[in-house]
Amino acid sequence: MWKLIVRRTFLTIPQIIILSVLVFILAQAMPGDALTGLIDPSIDPATIEAMRERLGLNNPWYVQYIDWIKGVAQGDFGQSFRFKMPVSELIGGRIINTLWLSLATLVLTYLIAIPLGITSGRFNDTWLDRAITGYTYVGFAAPLFIFALVMLFIFGFQLSWFPTSGSVAPGTEPGTFAYFMSKLYHLLLPALSMALITTVSTVQYLRSEIIDTKQKDFIVTARAKGASESRVYNRHVLRNSLLPIAAFFGYEITGLIGGTIFIENIFGYPGMGELFLSSISLRDYSVMTALVLLFGLAAIIGALLSDIILSLVDPRIRIK
């Protein structure tokens, strides 16, 4: 088993390298470079050339790449042209909001998916199952951004149950309970909007997994041993179907990243997704590339965690 985990971990190294090269190419391909936004047009071109030389912008690409990697490894993502501050600081201010949003979404996703999936799988082909399957169809077809807009329209504007933008009410003191509650309150509608859509694939997965497991021979064996239907479900069907779900959250990260870009934009929630979009419209490319790199890393590590958990819970993979 350890070999498997080590091997899987080693696999992420080339992935991270390719990601960094991809991001580096992106950064190079962006119109303009580190000096474009910085420099007063009245400065003499010779001075600019000297500055370029000093910053290493005239070096061959691989030297630039290595310099860049060295910086990134130490947490130096360069300067934001617009905000005149290190990119790392800029992101640091936003990261916690996105983390909360993602966490809340994940929790809600599972809170919705598990009961619905179990009900639908266990009582398949009843009206309850049809209702749940109907919901998954609708959720599958509704693009996240449209659903979020409708949620905002109904619960934010028409009913005014939830705030329509921001991550906390202005003027609340950080660290107080009111501050925490306000954060939570601002989080709820965006997280719920995202969770209601992203959960459908988990519901569908769980449903088909349970229906599949129900037809396995070992379920017949359990019945032949004299187990009651409820025991057959709890001990055999659910256990075997829920274990893979335990590992899913890592894969969910990739989807969450896409989701936060829309959600934060629509709900005016100041997180990394929102920063990503605004950095593009402000042509603040060093921020943008740093975000692509960070999100990419998060996704790679998420997948790694999922694979490791999967190999831990399934003895067929574990013992090898």
């Binding site: 070992f218 064996t221 019945r223 032949a224 041993k225 025991r231 075997n240 003895p315 067929r316 013992i319």
Partner: protein
């Protein structure tokens, strides 16, 4: 008879296809006696497995009619709770494919433990562990302590089948149903498992229902044999009578179509046609008639019954009297080309 464990009368198990019910087991009457091996033989589609599942009440979507009398109760009418109490304690079952019959995510010891626990919920964990180990010993697992904590996929096919057997006998059942217990195994493993079942029979004195398609297995194991074709029993007799003096055309054809070690035949007998599917079963007349078309129609009964032609030897339909193999009459009849 006092030693009758199960008295099955007119059992009919039907499955729903589209809007109709089709009987896979059609009016089967049988007794299973204490301390005997009753073999049910048939090809795929004969209804033998559906029959086994019906006894255990394991069908989830079938219509079951008739009587399965066990200790004064008709199991067909028993509720889920009554069945649950019988299953795994008084009735055990051995499955064909041990790998899929075991939960892949549970160690095998825990799966046997569950079988004991379900019928002795008050037993202590350590007691059960001891019992599991002794069961593993009994079914010939070399290192029971180690095997207890292994997962099914870590064991060989023969070992897995032993685990399934241990599970089936864990509560000393009175009836043991073995559904093709050796079909998935190599010959040397098959003979070991068959010998094991034989030895266990001596120990627990259960009535064993052995479902198989292999007449060799029947000859080795059975006391009585019921031959099934298209959902019906076509012949029942004790094993010696059946193997030496088979009467029904189907039994005779089947015995003639397998190559044996003792004599090398020039050609094997071929049963014409195919086993009809559940939807296409002939529901009237002799169900085997279409596969012996050279036999006069008048030889068959219009609604074939089981006839007792000697004590304990039953044959369905009257066509057995006129049956002959076409090979034997090739010249006169000129039936089969080349």
């Amino acid at each position: 008879m006092n030693n009758v464990l199960l008295d099955i009368k007119n059992l009919k198990t039907s499955f729903r296809i589209k809007d109709d019910y089709y009987a896979a087991v059609d009016n089967v009457s049988l007794t299973v006696r204490k301390n005997e091996v009753l073999a049910i033989v048939g090809e795929s589609g004969s209804g033998k497995s559906a029959f086994a599942f019906s006894i255990m009440g394991l069908h989830t979507r079938a219509k079951i009619e008739g009587e399965i009398n066990y200790k004064g109760n008709n199991l067909v009418e028993a509720n889920a709770n009554q069945l649950k109490k019988l299953r795994g304690s008084e009735m055990g079952m051995i499955f064909q494919d041990a790998l899929s019959a075991l939960n892949p995510l549970m160690v095998v010891g825990a799966q046997i433990d569950e079988a004991i626990f379900l019928h002795n919920p008050k037993s202590s964990k350590s007691m059960r562990k001891k019992q599991v180990i002794s069961l593993l010993n009994m079914v010939g697992i070399p290192r029971p302590e180690k095997t207890y904590f292994q997962y099914p996929h870590e064991l060989s096919g023969g070992m897995r089948q032993r685990i399934v057997i241990a599970m089936a006998i864990s509560n000393q059942p009175e009836i043991l149903i073995a559904d093709e217990p050796t079909t998935a195994l190599d010959v040397t493993i098959q003979s070991q498992i068959l010998d094991l079942i034989k030895e266990l029979k001596e120990k627990i004195h259960a009535g064993i229902v052995l479902i198989t398609h292999d007449l060799g297995v029947v000859a080795e194991m059975a006391d009585r044999v019921a031959v099934m074709y298209a959902g019906q029993i076509v012949e029942i007799a004790d094993v010696y009578t059946l193997m030496e003096n088979p009467q029904h055309p189907y039994t005779r054809s089947l015995l003639n179509s397998i190559p044996t070690l003792s004599e090398v035949k020039a050609d094997l007998h071929v049963i014409q046609g195919v086993v009809p599917s559940l939807q296409n079963l002939p529901r009237t007349g002799c169900r085997f008639a279409s596969r012996i078309p050279w036999i006069e129609e008048s030889a068959h009964e219009t609604s074939p019954e089981l006839h007792e032609i000697s004590p304990g030897h039953f044959v369905r339909c009257t066509c057995y009297k006129d049956f002959y193999f076409p090979e034997q009459a090739k010249e006169e009849r000129n039936y089969v080309a080349n």
